[in-house]
Symmetry: C2
Subunit: 471 residues, 2 copies
């Protein structure tokens, strides 16, 4: 209310307050936990040389529409033009229109649907100010008019890091390490970084003579976990894949060993496919470097059933699975793409990128109780208010404490002490500082630990030391 | 692109990319500078015991409409309902409708216009989970369909801190200190915190017998700086304020001295007004505490011409002026209000709050060159890429450096060294690390300072020490 000439009419009638479905209010402890995750991700993004950009919440509709397929077009939130938007439309034709026809005439802006199309637009628009390879990260909300359900929201944050303008596979190596470091920092061990390569999938389809059935084939293969080998084969046959093709693919079901061992087995299957062997080369390079560099919290796993983003990924495909002890979908994903900016007229800008699923990481950390207790501790000590003179004496100490970075507060009103203690208790403030006439006379402070009940009488310097340690 | 099942159609025709007017892309250095300001504000908010909340970007239209006056209703961005929104409307009546009538039928959500109404809605909705007094801060973007102009955007951030549920004047004292500490932290000295009180303005109007002309009176008085004493008096007479009233108000034009001295002068003018003297009591209390506690970067000034937010402020009124050496409007503002949540049916929740003007603070710090150089430094050293073996050797060092929190990067491709140096130069990376065969043999790294041209040959431990110091 306090800025930019706000005029609020507080006298309006009461309305029962609620928020739109699929959106969320975040309470202080929720914001602090989210900020904790974001700060860890951001710190690693920056260590790895990624630089932040931010783009507007809404883009021109032209920029977004037609980029995410028909479903995307439907799920993009459109913003109504301001002013008399109907004046541009012939009143006679209006009743003949359906919503799909009318929308482009009354809405020229839309809320962003992801961070990638805005990033592509950014790269093209600012191409002359950018040094390639350009490593950018972006942590901002996106909006989708999807049906809300458990874990799916209409407003959620994406945390993306992408490198564009280089084909070097060292970047896949770096992104795997980046995932590993973030999860190590969050104390989340036992994460699996699943990796595949679009060229491997193309190679398999080629080898079995079913190149035109790549999607059917991968969709079936993707169900291996759920329906088993026989189920997958049955589905493939139903989709028209030849029995003799299935024989060739048999080794896929018997994969075992670590990343490099699996790559070796896959390699013998793909000998006859040029594109497949290109994929093997890429996986081998990445596997070797990761083996030499090591991982701390995660395991790298080759997963030939991984087939996300086949519409745009051209090389590496990543997906991150939470530790097996929690039941949760993927907590991250990414891949390499040949042409990010072609849609906006700039050719040959390929790249690779990954994303962190903030909401799901939150749920995983919460379930495994991996949030440090200090994350949500707001104020370490509350000063009791005994009236003007005592409060001013307290405020001087409070000022000195805050100058040391310690979070402390004065109860604002002179009310019954019991009420003030109860407030400290309910806000989970661990210490109360009592300053009455006697303490003032002796230049002291009574510091009470609300958990143990212990109370000590200390001078300002000792008070600072105590609370600094307790923060 | 990497998450939540995104399907991007990269084959669409080229479009010339741009963003909606009044919105902005932020480049890496701009984001880093904005993050710097936000981190300083946030750190002080938390030291002062404020807790963060976040609310959705869009609210139900009911929540926002009618709260900011007619102009606000017009400037609120409305979101088009998804699906076939026209099916709810009788086709026959459609051509008779104007935009104002149609909008509520096809749009049930709107982007937030400020952070205060959503906060009021939050307090009412979550009243049973909140301990009062509730100290919250909120740093999020807001949107207004205002005509864009220099320094006025359609998307901008607000940084608000409010305490609700207590009438204690200690909070005004705290908020003044909070302003002072944030500006001290930003190195921005010479800031003026202007303060007035709604009760003082009511008192003046009462004393001169022009209570019903309060707005005309304050609007004229507000122009004192620009049109001088005679101009103000002329305007007041034109607005129908009696000449004898003007005589009574004469002392206002001769105010001088520090905060407490001005309060004393004002006090003699307001002797006969009960509400005016209540304002004097409040100013006296606040002035005394601030005098006892001291300020570091700012000066507190009584400004009886300050009349922002008269529609809702009931006590203190704040406005913060940048140092006089820069020409800039207010960089912050706030005040005390009696009834925040009445619009949503919860009575008697008054409070006081302040806001920081992020965009303007940015411009002021930029003009005065107060951003520390380190804020925008992304990567401290670039490792040159001589090929696979050398790059892996480099990556091991890079991993060790990043583990120490040092931002370093490997040039991703094996290209001419000159090109790699040029890249480091353009990205303003101060150091380059060269690892060739000879360095590898001796377990060493050649570290070149691109600014001085100096080069040293060091082992890993020394390299870490060097770059840690340079970060």
């Amino acid at each position: 209310m306090h800025f930019k000439n706000r005029k609020i009419n507080f006298s309006k009638m009461a309305t029962k307050p609620s928020i739109p479905k699929g959106t969320r209010d975040f309470s202080p402890s929720e914001v602090l936990k989210r900020q904790y995750i974001i700060s860890k991700i951001k710190a690693q993004f920056e260590r790895f040389g990624f630089q932040p950009i931010e783009t507007p919440s809404f883009e021109n509709s032209d920029t977004l529409m037609g980029k995410y397929g028909e479903e995307g077009d439907r799920l993009i939130f459109k913003i109504l033009d301001s002013g008399d938007y109907l004046s541009k439309i012939d009143a006679a034709t209006l009743p003949t229109m359906n919503a799909k026809q009318l929308t482009p005439k009354i809405s020229e802006k839309a809320l962003r649907y992801d961070l990638t199309v805005p990033f592509a637009r950014y790269v093209v628009q600012h191409q002359n100010d950018i040094e390639f390879p350009f490593k950018r990260y972006q942590i901002q909300p996106v909006w989708r008019a999807d049906r809300p359900q458990k874990g799916r929201f209409r407003e959620f944050f994406q945390c993306d890091a992408d490198v564009v303008g280089s084909n070097s596979l060292w970047q896949e190596v770096e992104l795997i390490q980046l995932y590993d470091q973030v999860f190590a920092d969050l104390g989340l061990h036992g994460v699996t970084i699943k990796m595949n390569n679009r060229k491997i999938l193309s190679g398999i389809a080629e080898v079995i003579g079913a190149s035109e059935k790549l999607i059917d084939f991968t969709v079936a293969l993707d169900k291996l976990d759920k329906i088993g080998e026989e189920g997958v084969k049955k589905e493939m046959l139903e989709k028209g894949i030849e029995p003799k093709s299935l024989d060739k693919v048999q080794p896929l079901f018997a994969f075992s060993g670590n990343f490099n061992e699996k790559v070796a087995q896959l390699s013998s299957l793909l000998q006859e496919s040029e594109i497949g062997m290109k994929g093997i080369d890429e996986l081998t390079f990445i596997g070797n470097q990761i083996a030499a560099l090591g991982l701390s919290a995660a395991t790298l796993e080759l997963d030939v059933t991984l087939a996300r983003g086949l519409n745009y990924y051209t090389g590496a495909i990543f997906e991150v699975a939470a530790p097996k002890t929690v039941s949760m979908g993927s907590i991250g994903g990414g891949g390499r793409y040949d042409d990010l900016t072609g849609i906006f007229g700039l050719k040959n800008v390929g790249g690779v990128g990954i994303s962190f699923g903030l909401d799901r990481i939150y749920l995983v950390l919460d379930e495994l109780q991996l949030f440090p207790e200090t994350v949500t501790s707001s104020v370490v000590a509350l000063f009791v208010n005994y009236g003007e003179t005592e409060a001013l004496y307290a405020m001087k100490a409070i000022k000195a404490l805050r100058a040391k970075g310690i979070k402390v507060d004065l109860y604002p009103d002179k009310v019954k002490v019991g009420k003030q203690f109860m407030y400290a208790d309910k806000r989970q403030i661990p210490y109360v500082v009592i300053v009455g006439e006697s303490e003032m006379t002796h230049n002291q402070y009574a510091l009470k630990n609300l958990i143990t009940g212990d109370q000590v009488l200390v001078d300002l310097e000792t008070l600072i030391q105590y609370l600094e340690k307790a923060s």
